[in-house]
């Protein structure tokens, strides 16, 4: 315990800088993965439809636990969008599969952008429901199509 307090200020500043850099890097990786996700109904990507946007991705580091917490906010195209849950599912599965290291992911609908925002937020952050949804062949097929990378 005592050793932890015994640092000189210089090295600490350096450490802070390193973390900031790291946060930017994670943010870029996350956004690059999200921008190409296709809308479940339209031929456009979520980025083209402004459903996801760079400012919607924020990273918080919990240094104590050595955890990167990624928060993704998205804006459904219409306030009663029936596909909001599906979009949330696509975001989660794409990141879960492709991030180069483990992250903690929280996904939220832009505040005020959906009539049942609270219910949807709860659903898309419940990992048990997500896991079960991905074992449903119909849902899985839709998600796989939306998150497929095209080269």
């Amino acid at each position: 315990m005592v050793e932890n307090l015994d640092y000189d200020e210089g090295s600490n500043k350096e450490k802070v800088k390193e973390e900031e850099q790291n946060i930017e890097e994670i943010k870029d990786i996350v956004y690059d993965l999200l921008r190409t996700i296709k809308d479940p109904e339209k031929p456009s990507t979520l980025e083209e439809l402004n459903v996801i946007y760079e400012d919607g991705v924020t990273i918080k580091q919990n240094l104590e636990h050595n955890i990167n917490i990624v928060r993704v906010e998205f804006n459904p195209t219409v306030p009663h969008c029936s596909l909001a849950t599906l979009i949330g599912l696509c975001i989660r599965i794409k990141l879960q599969r492709n991030m180069p290291y483990p992250i903690k992911l929280d996904i939220y609908i832009k505040s005020g952008a959906h009539t049942t925002e609270h219910e949807i937020n709860k659903q898309i952050n419940d990992k048990e429901r997500i896991a079960a949804a991905m074992e449903n062949p119909n849902l899985k097929e839709i998600v796989e199509n939306c998150i497929k990378e095209e080269y």
Binding site: N62, E64, H65, N66, I67, P102, K104, K122, D126, K127, E128, R129, A131, A132, E135
Partner: protein, 337 residues
């Protein structure tokens, strides 16, 4: 300083492990998860825990939970494929000799009552089912309880009575018992206080209190006040009231997925989405109506991802098993020096 010493790490490279369940004799345990099979682990000749049996052909989807019968001869498994399987060794090898159907979708939890006479199951279909164990390999549905308004995540039986507690996505806990006057199972208490999904529950060894954990990042301790209790807490219809007597907040930084109250030591272990395992001990100086539980051990990075389950060995004191999204199962020894 109290600490958890890592004894062994087990891994089979098959994705998320949801649950670990000790055999009542304490010399073996079962695990299950995303890979749709059940593994039974016991010590080898060198004293190392190793995988003895793999049960593969019971379920078509994730196995969410497994539970040993109190006699140790039966193993029940709850799956996202909407069925519950009962396995036994009558033929010499483990076989699925009964499949319980009825839930509309994912079965999330299964548990045997202490007498072994009843089996409880619950599902995303919002219902809790009580099954009566009849003749050989026969299970009769004794009740379908539709008290919750959302998914039911977990059920546990009282350690001595035929009393069933359920935890739900509707943020409440409900308690069910058989009403002898109408021969039917009824909800006799609803415990409200959590602000989000209640993920798991565990009774204290003597059954007088219940611990719960939630997506709201808290743990709550509920105490039973029976009719005519000396504290003068009012009850109705001759039913006990369960009151929250302690809330542990500000300790867990993500969803608390599991909680286990050890009947041997009285210690409470929690499994958290921040990768930590924590151990709490009741302050012996605190009063019965306002107990204090102190965090005496905090293992950060106990696993590399969410910890899904913690289970104290029912025979060997201070032996704890845990499992995680990282696919690992770990065995720990609690040391309080």
């Amino acid at each position: 300083m109290a600490k958890l010493e890592l004894i062994q790490t087990l891994k089979k490279d098959n994705g998320r492990v949801w649950n670990v369940s000790w055999h009542p004799k304490g010399d073996a345990f079962a695990t299950c998860g995303e890979d749709r099979c059940i593994r039974i682990w016991a010590k080898d000749l060198l004293g190392k825990w190793s995988n003895k049996v793999v049960l593969t052909d019971g379920h078509k989807r994730t196995i969410r939970q497994i539970s040993w019968s109190p006699c140790g001869n039966f193993l029940a498994s709850a799956s996202f494929d909407a069925t519950t399987c009962i396995w036994d060794k009558q033929s010499g090898e483990f076989e699925c000799n009964a499949t319980l159907e009825g839930h509309e979708n994912e079965v999330k939890s299964v548990a045997w009552s202490s007498s072994g006479q009843y089996l409880g199951t619950c599902s995303r279909d919002k219902s809790v089912w009580v099954w009566e164990v009849a003749e050989e390999n026969e299970y009769e549905c004794a009740a379908v309880l539709n008290a919750h308004t959302q998914d039911v995540k977990k059920i546990v039986w009282h350690p001595t009575q035929e009393l069933l507690a359920s935890a739900s996505y509707d943020n409440t806990i409900k308690i069910f018992k058989e009403d002898n006057s109408c021969d039917d199972w009824v909800c006799c208490a609803t415990l409200t206080g959590h602000d989000s999904t209640v993920w798991s529950l565990s009774f204290e060894g003597n059954g007088s209190r219940l611990a719960s954990c939630s997506d709201d990042c808290t743990v709550k301790i509920w105490k039973e006040y029976t009719p005519g209790n000396p504290e003068g807490i009012s009850t109705s219809d001759n039913n006990s009231v369960w009151k929250c007597v302690c809330t542990i907040s500000g300790v867990h930084t993500r969803t608390v997925y599991d909680i286990n109250w050890c009947p041997l030591s009285g210690l409470i272990a929690t499994a958290c989405g921040d990768n930590s395992i924590r151990i709490f001990k009741e302050d012996s100086d605190s009063g019965p109506n306002a107990p204090t539980f102190n965090l005496i051990c905090n293992v950060e990075k106990a696993h590399n991802e969410d910890v899904n389950c913690v289970a104290w060995n029912p025979v060997v004191k201070d032996l704890l098993a845990s499992c995680s999204d990282d696919g690992e199962i770990k065995l720990w020894n609690f040391v309080d020096s």
